[in-house]
Symmetry: C2
Subunit: 271 residues, 2 copies
Amino acid sequence: MSELLKRLSLNQITLNKLSLKECVEICVRHNIGWIAPWRNKVAEAGLAESARLIRDAGLKVSGLCRGGYFPAATAKERAERIEDNLRAIDEAATLGADVLVLVCGPAPDRDIDAARGMVADGIAAILNHAHLSGIKLAIEPLHPMFAADRSVICLLDEALQLAQKFPASDVGLALDAFHIWWDPFVYDKLKACSGRILTWHVSDWAVPLPGIFAARSMMGTGVIELRRLRAAVEASGYLGPIEVEIMNEALWNRPADDVVIEMKRTFAEYV
Amino acid sequence: MSELLKRLSLNQITLNKLSLKECVEICVRHNIGWIAPWRNKVAEAGLAESARLIRDAGLKVSGLCRGGYFPAATAKERAERIEDNLRAIDEAATLGADVLVLVCGPAPDRDIDAARGMVADGIAAILNHAHLSGIKLAIEPLHPMFAADRSVICLLDEALQLAQKFPASDVGLALDAFHIWWDPFVYDKLKACSGRILTWHVSDWAVPLPGIFAARSMMGTGVIELRRLRAAVEASGYLGPIEVEIMNEALWNRPADDVVIEMKRTFAEYV
């Protein structure tokens, strides 16, 4: 197996109809060494059982999806979000992950700047527990098309500035080609991220987009310069697992083994 | 009529099922002083007839939509795009517009940086004709969700850097709240645009989005801080007409007079 393929990690949402157990089994069947579980699937299988399934299969966990969603209208709700993030940190530790991905969440109203402040406050509130648990927090800048409903943090340099409020040993970035490819200054910004990149996600941007949330496509079917971006990510010091994370209705409706075979082929060819 | 309402301009795509003649008539009926025609509608009505309709109704033209689409795979195609932009400049002059809006176009392949270079080359190629025709070129940074299919120019600071390659008397920016609201640095960037803003467009970003191209909503139904953005645009020196530009299927299917009444009300309340 090539060095690149050894870095391939299956982000579970790519096969969203499968249970965690089925995802683990398909990784084993196709010789994939890494997995990135989602919390809803872990909850369905049970946390201890999920950890056991992954460990017994010999898989490594590239990251847990996801914490975040810090902004909320009331102090009580914001405290609940923080509690949920503390649980997510515990789950990540139990699963053997090093990284918890943070999708920071939308604003509860029109005041997006205030919501950005709530994100910074939320990360500060969970930092110590993450540190003591051995979990790094990975802020994910989402594509600006999700600024109103999924993340007020949507520019790479914005996410980096936020991460830099905290020690590099505790807080970094979850970068996804789908979210950042279009940025005219992306290569300069990636240089500035040196030492802060905690995970790298790939998919592609096809024209026309197949949807809004389920907007992503298989590598090679879109316009993203995946190889050039990976080179820049690596030049900034990230050489860890590379997650394939594709939300796509048509893909979810295909036989999972076929998807995995195509994923491995296009990963080798385009990533 | 309030000073603000005197600045309202009907961008023709907001009533996309109407002809130019019908749009002119509805402006007169509702006491709207400005219109922003689209070239396809002007072509349907005929250029000279369009100019006559607008002039006879006493309307002013806030801008013509649109030139641009400079990148293409071959030199021959790029030359054709430039020819088309020269015609757009002539049309803008005939219609009595001061401003031609440039939607810069997508890349013909995966090389988005090369396409950005083609945009700069294209503007340089039409600059002299625009200058001699008394038409200012307004580069419109589009929301990054359109980076693959409508414009490789999608950040406000990127558009400003591009405009600054040319004299401020000839090239500036067409800014649209829908495209720039999410930018975490938007207010600093707007400050830097002082003297370069040539037109200001409004609509809203509703959750969930009603579509991808037809993604916009009536002012007040979404999350955009329209009033705060207008204040920043005005602080940068732009005090001209404000176009309502809403692509929205449901809106297009409603009676046009109802839409215009709602547009005037929400413009006064939220813009």
